[in-house]
């Protein structure tokens, strides 16, 4: 359904070029849950930004439903059915929660529909739909509204970049329930064990390359080694 073919992302620094991602080949299948994990700086967020079109690969091709989308703009990819939840939710001066949910779903929603979107992420619509999506909302509230916006897209591919960060007073159980109920192809960037547990496939990235692809139980030992090695390295 969604394929990355020899995708690389390179940034030019002062004296040399740095590979953030190198020769990534991935095939995301319809209706499956993928969790991308790995140490900090391994290229996880960059990878999902390349899929959404927020960044452009320096090499390689991205194919979605047999269509080359490598050169398509963000909104064109959104139009084809790719949705994306930011790691750091964006705030606006003057736009209300309901405005954003209406834009996300591309229709004027009635109260009950807005309520459906927000209750799935544990928020009561009454208290939120007319509130500005600004920094007066807590980090946890913003994060949950970010998730609600993606749900409102009803997309074919849903991408979540570290969705668990800052989810306050709302359990992981609810969050994983949201992911399990999605009928889409779901790509989640996460370190969290409970999120890794719901993955059909875990993709372990290391230094910009795919280290391992497999089930959670297959990748888990490597992940532990990775973390322990990293800790040993840091301490030693």
């Amino acid at each position: 359904m969604l394929k990355l073919e020899n995708v690389s992302y390179l940034v030019s620094e002062k004296d040399n070029d740095k590979d953030i991602l190198k020769n990534i080949n991935l095939d995301f299948l319809k209706g499956k849950i993928y969790v991308i994990t790995g140490p900090n700086g391994s290229g996880k967020s960059t990878l999902v930004k390349l899929i959404m079109g927020i960044l452009s690969p320096t090499e390689g091709k991205i194919v979605f439903n047999d269509k080359d989308i490598t050169n398509l703009k963000i909104n064109e990819r959104a139009g084809l059915g790719i949705a994306y939840a930011f790691q750091q939710p964006v705030t606006f001066k003057g736009l209300k929660v309901k405005d954003l949910l209406n834009i996300a779903s591309n229709k004027e929603n009635d109260f009950n529909t807005l309520c459906d979107y927000l209750s799935k992420v544990g928020l009561c619509a009454k208290g939120y739909i007319n509130r500005p999506l600004d920094d007066k909302l807590s980090g946890g509230e913003l994060k949950r509204i970010e998730l609600a916006m993606v749900l409102a897209r009803n997309a074919l591919v849903n991408i979540f970049d570290e969705p668990e960060a800052g989810i306050d007073l709302w359990s992981f159980e609810n969050l994983t329930k949201v992911f399990k109920e999605l009928k889409s192809t779901t790509i989640i960037v996460s370190h969290q064990t409970k999120i890794l547990e719901i993955a059909d496939t875990v993709i372990l990235l290391k230094e910009g390359k795919v280290e391992k692809i497999g089930s959670n139980s297959e990748v888990k030992p490597l992940l532990h080694l990775e973390m322990c090695g990293k800790l040993r390295g840091e301490n030693g």
Binding site: M52, I54, F86, K93, L95, K96, I103, R153
Partner: protein, 306 residues
């Protein structure tokens, strides 16, 4: 009243949900229509152009509309409107001016308004400014607002100017008594070569008086906006000014803060942020399916109207 008159009136003084108490419509320097009520009297001035609007004490939830429309080119209109608000009254006042100038000569409106708020009174003042017409003549609006607030009074001002006005110089002076509160929300869009200048001078004289000014500016094309605020704290008081500006194309916005805490218990703050639309806001809306241009429009509309 012709089609243009009605359209201008709708833009500057759209009918309000609140029950109308009185109105005065001024067109091309003359009174077009006037209605008074038992509670709200409108009296023409004898020494200069303009009216006195006298709101009796204890008037609740009524509206006064005093729109001005100018459809003649080359007119230089000057009007003095003085509001006297009785104690304990709560009234919404809808003012504003629409200029439709198809000529090649400037049309100017200078509206000088004063508000005298009695104890415990509450005024919501909505001011809309509109400029239109394809002539080369300028659509120039220079409103001056002088506010005198007695104890426990509240004044809320909403100003909206969404392009089309060639030049505006908007001056607001206020003196606040004990526990008086002034809230100002100003939203201004300029485009092409338009200029808009705003000056606020607020003197907080009474203990626990409070002023909150929020200015949202969007400048497009080669337009220029200037925002000057001057807060003077003469008592234990609170003042906060927030000036946010979005720049597009080759436009400029200048914010000039001045705060003077004469009384050491005065707490005065001025915040200003001017710049392009944040890239992450555009990207977020694009991930929701909007094109870059659509995202820009949504952000600006929300910023000015939200």
């Amino acid at each position: 009243m012709d089609k243009i008159d009605k359209s201008l009136l709708e833009k500057v003084s759209s009918l309000h949900e609140i029950k109308l108490g009185a109105f005065n419509i001024r067109k091309n320097g003359e009174v077009l229509e006037r209605k008074t009520s038992g509670e709200i009297d409108i009296v023409p001035k004898k020494d200069k152009p303009g009216i006195d609007i006298i709101i009796k004490p204890n008037v609740q939830n009524k509206a006064v509309h005093i729109p001005v429309i100018i459809t003649a080119g080359g007119l230089n209109d000057l009007v003095y409107n003085d509001f006297y608000v009785g104690e304990n009254s709560f009234v919404t006042i809808v003012a504003g001016c629409g200029i439709h100038n198809t000529s090649n000569i400037d049309s100017v409106h200078n509206g000088i308004h004063s508000f005298h708020l009695g104890k415990n009174s509450h005024i919501k003042y909505i001011e809309r400014h509109v400029g239109e017409g394809k002539g080369k003549g300028g659509k120039i609006l220079n409103p001056t607002t002088k506010i005198y607030q007695k104890e426990n009074s509240i004044m809320e001002i909403e100003t909206l100017q969404l392009g089309g006005v060639t030049s505006s110089v908007r001056k607001t002076y206020a003196r606040l008594g004990e526990n008086a509160q002034l809230n100002v929300q100003e939203n201004i869009l300029t485009e092409d070569k338009e200029t808009a200048t705003t000056l606020f001078k607020v003197t907080l004289e009474g203990k626990n008086s409070k002023v909150e000014v929020v200015s949202h500016s969007v400048a497009k094309g080669k337009s220029y906006q200037e925002f000057k605020s001057d807060l003077i704290g003469k008592a234990e008081c609170f003042g906060h000014v927030e000036c946010d500006g979005i720049l597009l194309d080759n436009a400029r916005i200048v914010s000039v803060p001045m705060i003077d805490a004469i009384n050491s218990d005065a707490s005065l703050v001025h915040e200003a942020a001017i710049g392009k639309i944040a890239g992450d806001e555009l990207i977020k809306l694009m991930t929701l399916g909007l094109s870059e241009e659509e995202a820009e429009d949504v952000i600006i509309k929300g910023f000015l109207m939200g």
